[in-house]
């Protein structure tokens, strides 16, 4: 099949996590993966990002499908059931809100900067080497640590799902995918 430039966006996923390992401020670039799919859904009424531009999905296909790191077993039905998808979206948004609250606390001077990456919303990994004090306000770095935590956690979950089930099983309950499909369905109903 003919390859397009966007078929190589899986490289972006590797670059993103590598950059964040050395300098946490690069975590801000992950906002592209948040805002672009929402933009496509809200203004274009489509899921082009999921369908063609998601580097994470492509990387899972590369590893699981082309390199054979996936067991390729059917996804359990509860993982793509509506209650789980919407429940996970709600959980994800709550944790995202909590991350924003932590950022606000640091910005307001009520909390100090935590130079850790939180994995699976539970384990605090030291990540201090990736941050050198700059003239930027501390909340900018706090947001970076929090956002990178979310990105890394969801990526690891995606890899785990890829290995256990099908390469793109993460897509079945990816919060961004659920949110953008919800927007598209609402747009379809309005028409």
């Amino acid at each position: 099949m003919k390859r397009h430039w966007y078929d190589y966006l899986w490289i972006w996923t590797i670059v993103y996590f590598s950059l964040g390992f050395f300098n946490i401020l690069f975590a801000w670039l992950g906002m592209i993966d948040f805002l672009v799919p929402l933009g496509f859904a809200i203004f274009g009424g489509n899921k082009l990002f999921c369908n063609h531009f998601c580097g994470r999905g492509q990387l899972c296909m590369k590893l699981g499908h082309e390199l054979g790191y996936s067991r390729n077993r059917p996804t359990p039905a509860w993982l793509y059931s509506r209650w789980f998808r919407y429940g996970f979206l709600l959980f994800f948004l709550t944790m995202f809100g909590n991350m924003l609250f932590q950022t606000w606390l640091v910005g307001a001077g009520a909390a100090s900067l935590r130079q850790t990456v939180s994995l699976f919303w539970t384990f605090q990994l030291p990540w201090h080497w990736a941050y050198a004090e700059t003239s930027l306000p501390a909340w900018v770095a706090q947001f970076s640590f929090g956002f990178y935590s979310i990105m890394l956690t969801s990526f690891l979950l995606g890899l785990l799902m890829m290995a256990l089930y099908r390469p793109r099983t993460w897509c079945a309950f990816c919060p961004m995918g659920t949110m953008t499909q919800m927007i598209c369905l609402l747009r379809c109903r309005k028409k």
Binding site: F40, H52, T75, R85
Partner: protein
Amino acid sequence: MPSRRHAVVNPRNCVACGTCENVCPRHAALVVHGCRAEIDIELCIGCGRCAASCPANCIELVERERREGNEAALV
């Protein structure tokens, strides 16, 4: 010549991720308006790649409806 089977999408479970669209060798699968995938059964060759890779198990292969006098043409 049309194949004996073709893919169908269960729209209730489809998450519109586009995996089927990306693996289909005949561009028969398409995510429509970001809501769900649809299969163009005229283009579908029933290879089953979409069904095997769908993360929401919402694609299955069904026997193509046989039209009168068309049975010999099915492979």
